[in-house]
Structure formats: C-alpha cells, structure tokens
Symmetry: C3
Subunit: 148 residues, 3 copies
C-alpha cells in the first residue's frame, strides 16, 4: 500500500511543467526563460509587463501598462489551465511608488473579491525603458478532477 | 483505492485560504489584498512593514520599524495557525543597504536558531514615505494532526 | 486507511529542511540565515551573489560575478540533492539593467534547455559594495524514489 500510494502520487507531486507558448504573449525562449513553471502544486509566473507579443511596450501610460500586465497574467494562467481566481501571491515592482494607489485600483477592478498576498516596492529600473510596472505572481491551479 | 486517495488528498492539497483579518494588523481589503494566502502547503505572507493597524508608520527609527514588521509577521502567522518557527523564506527590501547588518541582528534576536532562506536588496521606495524596511515571507505551517 | 495515508504522507509533506553548510559557499549562520530551506515540496534558495566562501566579491566584472552566482546556486542545489535541472523560478536583481542581456546569455549558456520562470528588476543596492547581480531561486527536487 505505501509503495502504491507513493507511486500514484508521484505524477502529480513531482511533475514540473514549463509553459513557453502563450497565445498573445511573447515567446520567452529568445531570452532563455518560460512564461510560467508549475511545480510542487504551485505555478510560478514570470514577471509580466505592459508589453505585446513582440516585447514592445503597449503605451507610455501607466494605466495601459498595468492593464496589459494583468491581461498577460490572465493569458499565462489560461495557458496553464487556470484563471485569475487561482492567484495566490503578487509582487509588484513600480518605477514610481506614486503609482501604487492606481495599481491597487486597477487590480481591484480586475480581481474583485480575489484577494492575493501582496508586496509592493519601487525599483530603479525594469527590463525595457519606459516600463513602469512589473508583476510577478504565484498561482495555485487545482488539478483536473478525475471523472471517476 | 486510487480515487479514494485522490479525493481524500484533495481537501488538503487544493484548498486555498485567504487570511484577511489579523488582530493588530491593518485590514488589507482597503487596498484589495489579503495579509496571507495559503496554497500548495505553503503560506505566502504579504510584505510586512513597520506600520500599525491604521497603516501608520510606528516610528522614523529603523529598529522600531524592523521590530514592528517582524511582530506583524508573527501576528499574520498566528492568524494562520502558525508561528515564527514555520518561516521558510524571507525577502528583505531596504531603502538603505547600510541597515542590513542591523536587520540581521534584529532577525537573529527574534528568530534565534530558526534559519530562513534570505535575500536582501535595496529598493528606491516602499509603500509609504519614511518606511525603511519591508519583509516578504513564505512559511510552511503543518496541518493539524488528526487526533486519531 | 485514511489515517494511514495521512501519516505516511506526513514525513514528505511536512518536513522542513534547512541547508546551512554548502561546500564552496560561505557559512550563512554569521548572518542568521540558511543557504536554502525546503518545504512543501519546494526548495527556497537564498539570494546568491558573486562572492566566495569568505563573502568576498570574486571580481568587479559583471560576467565573473554572474558566473559565480550561478555556480553558487549549483552548489546549494547539490547540497540539497539536486541540480540546475530542478530550477523552477528565478528573480534577478541587477544594479544596472543594461547588464540584463548579458545575464540572459550567461544563464542560457549554463541552463541550456532548462527554462525557468524569470523576473528581472534593477535595484539600488546589493548586500556588498561593487556587487552587480543577485539571483534568488526556487527549485523542485524530486524525492529519492523508494527502491521498492
């Protein structure tokens, strides 16, 4: 029994899945990473930015960048079989902390009652010039239920 | 048997708990987040600061801010059924890296032999003016043992 | 059966291991932390830098610092029974974002087809003067298989 249990559990517990191709989000292989990696029951999502599929900033506007970063998160979660309701933790890197209240408003508009753990800091730079916000997430997407 | 095992495990593995109300720590709903979220066997604690229940900095002193941030972490862990001994990982954001040695001393004074994984960086700003340290943690609180 | 299952699983699920002594990497106890802590099926690795066993920067060169930080990560993973192929998530803190492309090249050279989730930000300081890059990782090291 014990051996059975371990082996049955191994597939779920030990599997690491690396998500690279996400519709609408740029191909991260050019920079040597994946858009998300699941392991140990959690999904680690790469820092998302207000950029399009070609890694071009969508706008100089903070709001448009924040909406796009959140939309990119939604797309990555979707590619991994989940949605925004599965978000657990969020680290927000801002180039100007004065944008934090606006980000919190946009997040609330998008997430509603889904309350994530949250950490916000101001940083001195993000991967591309003019970007003002980067959002790093951890999610928990329940495995599909066996249909018995 | 396999189906039994999966279903029995589902409650523990798939449950996400969002901790919002923490005695002595401010209500995070005003900013659209939770003080901690547990998922996948881990507890992700929101970045804690030297602030009181009204989100007011407790002091301009680094030490008092650091002690309060650690005390707020203790309170969040307690609300989730755990304690400082369950801390796993800690990311420390400082506005001035010269405060790092002092933070490490305070941490050692509080945590004693509990050694966490640790990353420290200096950032250009924290959520409120005059704040000098933010501490983001991951913890692992074992589930209550069945009494049988 | 249910009790059996829970108790059998407890050892793997609830064990927290704190890795302190890592050959070739400095002893973190002097600063009150561990080089890595495993919990919940994941390994949280402390931020690694281009420093030697005595916490001395190996060079003023970005490249040499990056290679050493990655080598220190490899050593920590090895002490925990794993390797670079078990990396899941990576947060890269740079003092100058212009070094990001170079870091990505070095990472690709070392990791090859192992694609991690990735977040890069520029920070205003790292734990020691002249350091230019800090790398924080999460890994997933499968438990040793029972020999049946």
């Amino acid at each position: 029994m014990t051996t059975d249990r371990r082996e049955a559990g191994a597939a779920a517990d030990e599997e690491v899945v690396r998500y690279v191709e996400v519709p609408g989000v740029g191909d991260p292989r050019r920079f040597g990473y994946a858009q998300a990696v699941s392991a140990g029951g959690l999904l680690f999502v790469s820092g998302q930015l207000g950029i399009d599929e070609d890694y071009k900033p969508v706008s100089d506007s903070f709001d448009e960048q924040a909406y796009r970063a959140m939309e990119n998160i939604r797309r990555v979660l979707s590619a991994a079989g989940g949605g925004m309701e599965h978000l657990v933790s969020m680290t927000i890197y801002l180039t100007d902390m004065r944008n934090a209240p606006r980000f919190f408003d946009i997040r609330r508009e998008i997430l509603g009652e889904i309350l994530v753990s949250s950490t916000a800091v101001a940083v001195s730079g993000l991967p591309l010039p003019n970007l003002q916000v980067e959002v790093q997430c951890v999610a928990h997407i329940p495995p599909s239920q066996p249909t018995a």
